[in-house]
Symmetry: C2
Subunit: 314 residues, 2 copies
């Protein structure tokens, strides 16, 4: 049994490689929900949806989120209401784009939550609707919100940072708000796995929320030899998103060495790209065993290769 700790796009691509090299039924993804938000009254779980849509082959590959061949008629129609809403209202939010078919997923999740279903159960239903064999688990059934601290001391919600402000503002800290515990299923998936993989996701705002839950880091640390992390930083840059800049802003090195220092307590091995082979010794010095293999997942084949190499690195 393999358990993968997941954020969004990078994890989705990694999983789409992993299912090519092992039986998908042996894979459990434990997915960040710190980005979850309620926008236009809809309960949105961006990382979970990105993974579901990617594994179903339905993702829009160019955008990296949402469904391919999507239409945008609801969002277009919302603009009419954005003009009339009171200044203090968040209704008719048009800064967070939602495709028409994607909205069906959010309507389903929102309705099921209102019925009292756990996000764990809802996620299993959504995964079944898309015919996935991989088991996907939200990290927690409790709400937990990733918030970015700004230099003025105030903080903003993750989607506000990531989408509304295009992750262009400088951040001075990350906070996780909410009295959340890992779900039993998520904790079991971590403790019972033969191999735990930390997907190539943002260490601070994708894997960070997972690690902020009580017991997760201790469970990983207790058997860190089983755990392999895949660096989301290649050649000093994030493959996707603001991880490189955010590492710098928050006092970490924006390199595989910075990643190693973040992960060394919970994982024995770090998969790095040949572009970073010159830092292999430094990674080793920081306490992780470096494994060098091509880590850029630009094709299904390269994702499968990275997944196979990561499994072999354990």
């Amino acid at each position: 049994m393999i358990t993968v700790l997941c954020g969004g796009v990078g994890a989705a691509r990694f999983l789409s490689g992993l299912v090519q090299v092992v039986d998908p039924a042996t894979i459990t993804g434990v997915v960040n929900t710190g980005d979850d938000a309620v926008i236009n009254g809809l309960a949105i779980s961006p990382d979970l949806d990105t993974i579901v849509y990617t594994l179903a082959g339905a993702i829009d590959r160019e955008r990296g989120w949402g469904l391919g061949g999507e239409s945008w008629n609801t969002m277009d129609a919302l603009h009419r209401y954005a003009v009339v809403r009171p200044d203090d209202s968040e209704a008719a939010a048009t800064w967070f784009n939602l495709g028409d078919r994607d909205i069906a997923t959010h309507l389903y999740r929102t309705t099921r939550r209102a019925e009292g279903a756990s996000l764990t159960d809802i996620t299993a239903e959504i995964a079944a609707a898309w015919g996935l064999a991989v088991r996907l688990l939200p990290m927690s059934d409790d709400p937990v919100a990733t918030r970015l601290v700004l230099p003025d001391g105030g903080d903003i919600a993750f989607q506000d940072y990531f989408v509304r402000r295009h992750h262009e503002v400088t951040v001075s800290g990350v906070r996780f708000v909410g009295e959340a515990s890992p779900s039993d299923a998520a904790m079991d998936a971590i403790t019972d796995a033969d191999t735990v993989i930390v997907a190539p996701s943002n260490p601070l705002v994708s894997i960070g929320p997972l690690r902020s839950l009580p017991g997760i880091d201790a469970a990983l640390a207790a058997r860190r030899d089983r755990t392999v992390a895949v660096s989301p930083i290649v050649g000093g840059r994030a493959l996707k998103g603001p991880a490189d800049r955010m590492l710098t802003e928050l006092g970490h090195e924006p390199t595989v060495l910075g990643v190693a220092r973040l992960y060394r307590d919970i994982a024995a091995t770090l998969v790095i790209d040949p572009a970073d082979a010159d830092l292999a010794a430094a990674v080793e010095g920081a306490g992780m065993r470096p494994v060098v293999t091509p880590s850029v997942m630009s094709t299904p084949e390269s994702a499968a290769h990275l997944a196979a190499a990561t499994l072999a690195a354990r």
Copy 2:
């Protein structure tokens, strides 16, 4: 000032005639909300929306509800989830069709309600978004649900009866559930109007919920000479919907005479179609002054004619 008591399609067409013959700014519609429902987590107000879309010239005239030129991609995508939802869940409801652009209206209303806005304020915002000059008021800011009693004594929600069961089941009663009061604005619109018009809507399940609110019937009765009702029954048949059959099932005559007996306490005048001229004396005998004028609103011109004749009948 003219106040029109409104249900859905018939009232919407009547209002679209009225705005052609008087300044729309002098018109207030007080609209039934007993049909309102939460479906797929969306707060839906069918009668209000039918009126807004009709007055905006955006209604789908053939269907009589929803927007013209609509797409259905969200609803299509919901079917995927209908297959996986648990048996006891109402999520992914596909029996109540919602167009993609129509969903924007429901998202707006749902979000504003969650923010604590009154349906009166929300309706004014939606009407403004569509550029309407007519003032539209929900009858109440409190939830009130029209329920249809079945012969076995159980009852079902209005949309369940009307949409899910295509108003094909026999009903033995109508109930209005909820401790609702008319909004102050709705009550003022009725008491302050020079003329009150009861639109050609179903007397039992469109006008009935309005009349069930405390104070409405008394306010109408106190100055019944101002009030003109337009019969929704022409030649013994409802122009739209199940009003004729429902009148029979609930012990009323499915004719203008049956309508007169329902309205005589609150309105002095009843507008009836020439097809029912033979019942004019019976209407008079029942206590209402009959005014005979073509009442079938098949074109904008015929709606304008009916509106003008109704005003003149006062």
